[in-house]
């Protein structure tokens, strides 16, 4: 580890090699998993068929719908979901200077869940014979962003991050209380659907959702990347950051808005996908061996995309044609990783 003899500036290239290597590796991995996710599924399709379907999107081939309406949107959404959740988690971990914080710590998922439970468990939708995915999405969206606005409004008032963290946790408990009351009162048949929604899935994405998510999320990601300098200063805590010229109040609101916006987007469509936002930033730190957010933000994006693609692949294929709940797979995958990292203390925050 010691390269003390070299001049101070001489170490940079070594690190940059590692970083470039990391990006290339993760990029290749993501592309590979993307190919797998499109090529493999519960209905076996030969590679030639897939190729011809891909090259002739307008063809009326048997598999056209499967590829273009199911597999490709799902693959893309897994990538987007993973990337957004990972960056959202990274932001909040830096902001709270706490390694066990994830994107849902402020109650985003709970807010979404409450609204969805109103839709799925009560008789509000009694007129509808089948609850359309669009209604669920809308409900989750409203829930997630309502909670976000409450959190941001509180963030204007309170000074310390810890207070905000506790407020977020309390919001989560409140929402959970409402959800559990509704669950207790709900009809049996409705509960299963609701429980499965709570475990998250990327199957709900259509092309419309993907376009919206790409554009909005892309803008938020760009904004976050431009925040990476103050984010780095934030690693030293609020007082040092403000002594170096960071406008704490404005920055805090920006971080919370960005993190919640990304997590809220994904939650609206995919439900609360657990663990990605918590574990992936740690994995990214391990791979890139840095806390520099200029590296970690794109790093966590790629890492999230790769890990989520892998988890989605496992969820779909392990007991195919039965699909496992995504959150179960991510937890199986993520929990040991986080425990291992923290026990070995390879990664700290």
């Amino acid at each position: 580890m010691r390269i003390a003899a070299k001049p101070i500036a001489g170490r940079r290239p070594l690190w940059e090699h590692r970083r470039i290597f990391g990006f290339v590796l993760l990029g290749i991995l993501t592309v590979l998993l993307m190919v797998f996710n499109i090529a493999v599924g519960s209905i076996p399709i030969s590679p030639e068929e897939i190729w011809s379907t891909l090259t002739q999107p307008q063809s009326t081939s048997l598999y056209n719908d499967i590829i273009w309406k199911i597999r490709i949107p799902r693959t893309i959404s897994a990538i987007l979901g993973g990337a957004y959740l990972a960056v959202s988690g990274l932001l909040l971990q830096v902001y709270f200077r706490n390694p066990i914080v994830g994107p849902f710590i402020l109650g985003i998922s709970s807010g979404a869940t409450v609204m969805v439970s109103f839709v799925m468990l009560t008789t509000l939708t009694v007129g509808m014979t089948v609850i359309s995915p669009f209604v669920t999405t809308l409900a989750a969206f409203i829930g997630a962003y309502a909670v976000m606005m409450v959190v941001v409004a509180i963030a204007y008032r309170v000074k310390s991050g810890i207070t905000l963290l506790i407020v977020g946790l309390m919001m989560g408990y409140l929402c959970h209380a409402i959800t559990s009351i509704l669950t207790a009162l709900a009809e049996k048949e409705k509960i299963k659907g609701f429980v499965l929604w709570q475990l998250g899935s990327f199957s709900g994405f259509g092309w419309n959702e993907i376009f919206v998510l790409c554009i909005l999320g892309g803008m938020v990601l760009a904004l976050i990347y431009f925040l990476s300098k103050p984010l780095n200063a934030f690693l030293l805590g609020e007082t040092y950051a403000s002594s170096m010229g960071v406008n704490i109040r404005r920055f805090r609101i920006l971080i919370l808005l960005c993190a919640c916006a990304l997590a809220g987007m994904i939650t609206s469509v995919a439900g609360p996908v657990a663990f990605i936002g918590l574990a992936v930033p740690h994995m990214a730190r391990l791979v890139f061996q840095t806390s520099d957010n200029r590296i970690l933000i794109p790093g966590a994006c790629l890492m999230g995309a790769a890990v989520t693609s892998l988890c989605d692949f496992i969820a779909r294929m392990l007991l195919s044609p039965v699909e496992l709940p995504l959150s179960a797979v991510t937890a199986f995958f993520g929990a040991p990783v986080v425990i291992g990292l923290l026990v070995k203390r390879r990664v700290e925050l």
């Binding site: 780095n232 030293l236 002594s243 170096m244 730190r285 061996q289 925050l349």
Partner: protein
């Protein structure tokens, strides 16, 4: 008035600091010139940190104005402020996966572009900052692996990377070992001299502060109780009052703090002079003895130590003969003591030496138990002493202590009970 104000790096008039519902310090009027080392001294909770937080704009002043480089601090943009002023806090931080170089580079924040990219000049500034705190060799180490002392140096380097005119430090030597405590202080001292940076630090070691500071502000009871050069401000009573000392005393001349004892174990007369007594006084007072001493010259280091320790001193100026009254008074004090220690004062022909020699002869004649650290024997002083009354010769302090603690003291008491003498007091 106006021109002199702009010469100050930081100045405040009628400043009150504190929190919404509680003013901690008020009526502050301080001016820090370029290159000055300013120490804020005071007991815990006096408001040193609150004052530093107000100076660094973490906390708005309750009333009054703070001017930085002649401009009201509230009107300076945050980025500009960061170029003028850097802080080192007590808050323990451990950013993960940072090399010391990268950590110090974070201090370039107000100088780098919107993505924080480091140019050639930034790199040089970081290297310079590391060199200024003797931490060039730490550059590649991981920040989280540093010891407390190395970490503090890195924190100072990070602040220096901001290239500030003013450096505010909250208890920079807290939790450091002696080596690093001294190193950090001398680094800060050098920054004032070589770079003209104004250093404002809250300190606990009043002795160190007295030696490094150009100005001290004593903070107590809701205000600055004294402000000025340590040479004029810091005296024994002022420091004792500042910290509410009861059994310790600061001496500006000795530059340190002496601990006073209970004096419960009995009184010992010490014949000393020219620095022979200083260690003996400390040793005796530490062990709980009360000390009378004399006759000391008023320019003798023994005198300052004895006075600081609260010993009963007989003094006089150097070039006069010891008068018979002084000698008689010293004799009385000697009588009241249970034991006499001769530290081996200069056995020459100076006026005070002769006075002390007379005192020693007096003690021997009266049959006092005398212990002597005089290596070459005491016979010269009084050749016709009887063998039993001969002083106990001790080669060093350890032997002296042993003699006091065990043999001699007990013998003495025995002697006292067998033939009562006027010394029983």
């Amino acid at each position: 008035m106006n021109t002199s104000e702009t010469n100050h790096v930081l100045s405040c008039t009628d400043l009150a600091v504190g929190y919404k519902d509680k003013t901690v310090l008020s009526d502050l009027r301080l001016e820090f010139a370029p290159g000055q080392f300013v120490s804020l001294l005071g007991p815990n909770g006096a408001g040193k940190t609150t004052l530093l937080r107000t100076f660094s704009r973490q906390l708005p002043p309750v009333s009054g104005v703070i001017s930085l480089m002649g401009r009201p601090i509230g009107q300076i943009k945050a980025m500009d402020l960061a170029r003028y002023m850097a802080v080192v806090l007590t808050e323990k931080i451990s950013p993960p996966l940072f090399s010391v170089f990268e950590f110090v580079a974070l201090g370039r924040y107000p100088h780098t572009d919107f993505l924080g990219r480091m140019g050639q000049a930034d790199r040089r500034a970081v290297e310079k900052a590391l060199a200024a705190v003797n931490a060039g060799n730490l550059a590649h180490r991981s920040f989280s692996d540093l010891s407390d002392g190395e970490r503090q140096k890195a924190l100072v380097a990070r602040a220096l990377a901001q290239e500030p005119r003013l450096l505010l430090l909250d208890e920079p030597t807290l939790h450091l070992d002696l080596k690093h405590r001294m190193e950090v202080m001398s680094i800060l001292r050098n920054l004032c001299h070589s770079r003209g940076i104004t250093v404002v630090a809250s300190l606990h070691d009043v002795d160190v502060a007295a030696k490094v500071s150009d100005r001290v502000a004593l903070i107590k009871d809701g205000g600055v109780s004294a402000w000025g050069m340590p040479e004029t401000v810091l005296s024994g009573p002022v420091v004792a009052d500042l910290y509410d000392f009861n059994d310790a005393r600061f001496s500006s001349r000795l530059g340190g703090i002496e601990f006073r004892g209970t004096g419960s174990k009995g009184r010992i007369f010490v014949l000393a002079g020219a620095g022979t007594g200083a260690l003996v006084y400390r040793m005796l007072i530490k062990r709980g003895f009360a000390v009378s001493t004399g006759i000391l010259c008023s320019n003798d280091v023994d005198y300052y130590v004895a006075r600081c320790l609260g010993a009963d001193c007989m003094t006089q100026t150097s070039m006069t003969w010891v008068s018979s009254e002084t000698l008689a008074e010293a004799g009385k004090k000697l009588d009241a003591c249970e034991l006499v220690i001769d530290c081996g004062f200069d056995n020459g022909h100076g006026p005070i030496s002769q006075g002390n020699r007379k005192l020693l002869q007096m003690a021997l004649k009266k049959g006092k138990r005398v212990m002597s650290l005089r290596g070459n024997g005491i016979e010269k002083i009084d050749p016709d002493l009887s063998a039993t009354d001969r002083p106990i010769i001790c080669r060093d302090a350890a032997e002296l202590l042993e003699a006091i603690d065990h043999r001699a003291w007990a013998n003495h008491e025995q002697k006292q009970t067998s033939n009562p003498s006027p010394t029983a007091a």
